[in-house]
Symmetry: C2
Subunit: 96 residues, 2 copies
DNA sequence: GACGATCTTAACGTTAAAGATAAAGTGCCT
DNA sequence: AGGCACTTTATCTTTAACGTTAAGATCGTC
């Protein structure tokens, strides 16, 4: 996780979490109670100093009542293009 | 993380990864080389037996050339409806 | 100035992710 | 049957997440 792009990913996700939390008027302690994640751990995540696990992200997203994906940068800047990607039906069997 | 919802989250993310990988005709070994993540670790993630870190997810998403958010269950694409907030039950104001 | 609330950081212990390697399990061939 | 490609499982080591506790740091407001 020494990569620069990864640091930016963590910083961006942390920023999104902090923004969402602040928009709801929640303190770190309050979010800690809602998520079961300690306030110091939340602080590290929000400041991009910790690499959270997927379930940790989900607990935060659930407490903030937003989809987990909204907390993650889409890889293109800061705004989400909601680019639906491919998502068409692939059929795996055709390739094997 | 013994939670049932979290297990489903991991299983779903793993399934999406496997789907995307298979759609591109990649083997675990090939994806392991692309991501720098060992094939056994990828197998555990794809089968929902491991709780990956955010940067781990991003390395996989980058190798598969999809936005990281598409690997997480939440509405953007083929996921279940998730019925808006699902558990719209609690009231945050009680904590404030 | 002292206080209260908020956030940050550090140290320490527990738990688990991630790596490497090797082994065992699949399925598909000729 | 044997071999081959792919995947899973098992073991081990290192690294890091997370909780707890406690200590600073920054705000305000009185």
């Amino acid at each position: 996780m020494a990569d620069d792009a990864e640091k930016e990913l963590l910083a961006d996700a942390g920023y999104r979490i902090r923004e969402t939390r602040a928009a709801q008027g929640l303190s770190l302690d309050q979010l800690a109670r809602l998520t079961g994640i300690s306030a110091p751990a939340l602080s590290l995540i929000e400041t991009g100093k910790r690499d959270p696990r997927l379930t940790t992200l989900k607990r935060i997203a659930d407490a903030l009542r937003v989809p987990p994906a909204t907390l993650i940068a889409d890889g293109s800047g800061t705004a989400e293009p909601s680019a639906s990607s491919s998502s068409g039906g692939y059929d795996l069997r055709e390739y094997q």
